[in-house]
């Protein structure tokens, strides 16, 4: 369920004019910007951009970029993009970061539907004149490259059919590999990066039935965990329980505020129109504090106001 709250009456022209007013004069009226954009869905945001362009012969996005700054500017910029375009930007940002964040790529491959992911890849090509696959391949090496390029290149079958025998045999293959700490085996990568989500979930269930421990717990083990193991863990989580995955990311993101707001922005903006409500429920269960309260307490300024609007905090 989405957390975004949109008003019953919508006029792209009115919104465009209101935004124009927010830019006029000294400084910018950030509150107005949040009040409008923080309560519009993707279709509406697109219409507002078009109306703004027609009325004022100016690109709303460029105007926002130049008038705003900091966390807030980045968040507003990403919010106003089309969802597929936003994901493309987030993927590119992640690839170029000095503290490389491969989780973004895993999310795209494992949480989005195959058709949604395809739209992201198209948007990426349009924006960056490279394919996502080439950039992921050239920004990675070794085992991580093997996994990520496979994940990013896949066009998963999206049917619900499950082959129980296959789930058995592949659960065993995964278990063997994990037991031997053979995490980067071709078979592990093959299974995780080519099977349909329905088939993989059946496999993970089978894993837990047979071996009493869930594959995610087994992957992390007891000793120090490599980056590659973390990537595998994220892959399984995203396919198996994305709400839990995102709730954890939010928790980590809030704790690291000031050093990493990218994760927080990403999770909230990419899920606000999808399943952020479910994610909030998991968040509360795990942390005994609501996401709304956590954001209110740990974050400040206009950035906070935007996030609160997106996560559905009623004033």
């Amino acid at each position: 369920m989405a957390t975004l709250i949109t008003p019953p009456h919508f006029s792209a022209v009115e919104d465009a004019e209101a935004l124009r007013n927010a830019f006029k004069g000294w400084g910018t009226d950030e509150k107005a910007i949040v009040g409008i954009l923080g309560h519009r869905n993707a279709v509406q945001r697109k219409q507002i951009r078009e109306a703004y362009d027609q009325l004022f012969q100016e690109d709303l996005v460029k105007r926002l970029e130049s008038d705003l700054s900091g966390h807030f500017e980045r968040a507003v910029y990403r919010w106003i993009l089309d969802p597929a375009d936003r994901d493309a930007v987030l993927a590119n940002v992640a690839l170029r970061k000095s503290e490389y964040d491969f989780k973004v790529l895993i999310e795209l491959s494992c949480v989005l539907s195959p058709e949604e992911f395809l739209a992201v890849k198209r948007a990426y090509q349009f924006r960056y004149k490279h394919s996502l696959e080439e950039d992921v391949a050239s920004h990675n090496q070794g085992d991580l490259r093997k996994l990520l390029v496979a994940l990013v290149g896949v066009y998963r079958y999206n049917g619900e059919e499950i082959n129980a025998k296959l789930a058995n045999s592949e659960a065993d293959i995964l278990h063997e590999a994990i037991k031997k700490k053979d995490f980067n085996s071709d078979e592990v990568i093959r299974i995780l990066s080519t099977r349909s989500k329905a088939q993989l979930n059946a496999t993970f269930n089978r894993y837990r039935e047979e071996h009493k421990l869930s594959i995610t717990k087994d992957l992390l083990g007891e000793s120090a965990v490599s980056e590659f193991q973390k990537a595998l863990h994220a892959t399984v989580r995203c396919i198996n329980d994305p709400h839990k995955y995102y709730a954890k990311l939010l928790r980590d993101g809030i704790k690291k505020i000031g050093t990493d707001e990218d994760t927080l922005t990403r999770v909230i903006e990419t899920r606000a129109e999808k399943d952020l409500k479910h994610i909030k429920e998991v968040y509360y269960k795990k942390n005994s504090v609501s996401l709304d309260d956590a954001v209110s307490k740990e974050i400040s300024g206009d950035y906070k106001a935007l996030l609160l609007a997106l996560i559905g905090k009623q004033d």
């Binding site: 004149k129 394919s131 996502l132 066009y155 079958y157």
Partner: protein, 312 residues
């Protein structure tokens, strides 16, 4: 026409590719029993004389031959009328099932189709086989080609017109140059470049490679034929296809190689047939249509010629 000529014509009628139906029709109209006997005697391969001097028919061989040759027309029609995506998906499935001798077909599909065509084939694969081509390929292709082939069929290459970066191409060309000659197929960089880069970029890599080494990329990859085929399909598909067509039209080519004739002509008729025709002429000094006229028969021949003519 003398009887001898007619007998020769009839023999010819089903010993090329396809069947010259009209010759058979004529036989039905004209030939008396003695003339049919002369035909049987003139074809001891199909009608071996036994110890009682009776030209019995090697039915199995004769029927098999006729079936095979009549089937060619049926096959090319079916191939032609399928949606291109379904056609590619079915050919890919067959290639995966047939093993290493058929992997070149996977290379053809992955490398000579446009990004959207390949994507369409992958969609069709979902519909037809309830699984993705990646699942099937990665599970069933064993051996060193697996990495390359799975990567190739998963490709979604950039096809826009932005400028190619020369320094990136130089870097990639070097990476290929430095690959371990004994493990070319499994070299991560080679797979990365050939399976993710845009075609225009790969053309530039080809160019840079030639500038900096005295040999061309495909020459240097000769140790791994499938890599050569990949580079050829990506950089100069008309050369690759002209060669495949020539092989398929040779006398005594085996059935597997013969199948390429239908596949190439149907899949390239509306693509780059004109370039293939030109290349064929340049390389083999004979028109493709001439070669087909000499080797194929009947309606099958006419259909192929029509497809080839679309390229003119």
């Amino acid at each position: 026409m003398t009887l001898n000529d007619e007998i020769q014509a009839l023999t010819k009628a089903f010993t090329g590719l396809g069947v010259d139906e009209i010759s058979f029709v004529t036989m039905g109209r004209k030939w008396k029993p003695e003339e049919r006997q002369s035909f049987r005697k003139a074809n001891p391969d199909f009608f071996p004389e036994d110890e009682r001097h009776f030209e019995r028919c090697d039915l199995e061989k004769y029927i098999k031959r006729l079936e095979q040759e009549f089937m060619r027309f049926k096959e090319v029609i079916v191939l032609w009328t399928l949606h291109p995506w379904e056609r590619d998906a079915r050919m890919a499935k067959e290639a995966i099932e047939n093993g290493p001798e058929a992997y070149a077909v996977l290379v053809e599909i992955a490398c000579s189709r446009s990004s959207e065509e390949l994507l369409g084939a992958r969609k069709a694969y979902h519909s037809l086989f309830d699984q993705s081509i990646e699942e099937d390929a990665s599970l069933n292709i064993e051996g060193p080609e697996r990495k390359l082939l799975v990567a190739l069929v998963s490709a979604y290459r950039y096809e826009g017109s932005s400028m190619v970066k020369e320094d990136e191409a130089k870097y990639d060309a070097n990476a290929i140059k430095n690959a371990d000659k004994n493990k070319l197929l499994e070299d991560d960089e080679i797979v990365r470049i050939l399976a993710t880069r845009s075609k225009r970029h790969i053309h530039e890599v080809y160019k840079q490679y030639k500038l900096n080494n005295n040999k061309t990329l495909d020459e240097d990859l000769a140790a791994a034929p499938i890599l050569q085929e990949t580079v050829q399909c990506l950089c100069s598909p008309e050369k690759y296809y002209a060669k495949v067509l020539n092989e398929s039209l040779k006398d005594g080519a085996d059935e597997k190689i013969r199948k390429a004739l239908n596949r190439v002509i149907v899949t390239r008729a509306d693509a780059d047939m004109k370039n293939i025709i030109d290349e064929f002429q340049t390389k083999y000094r004979v028109a493709l249509s001439e070669k087909i006229k000499n080797t194929a028969r009947g309606s099958y021949k006419d259909f192929l010629l029509n497809l080839v003519a679309r390229g003119n």
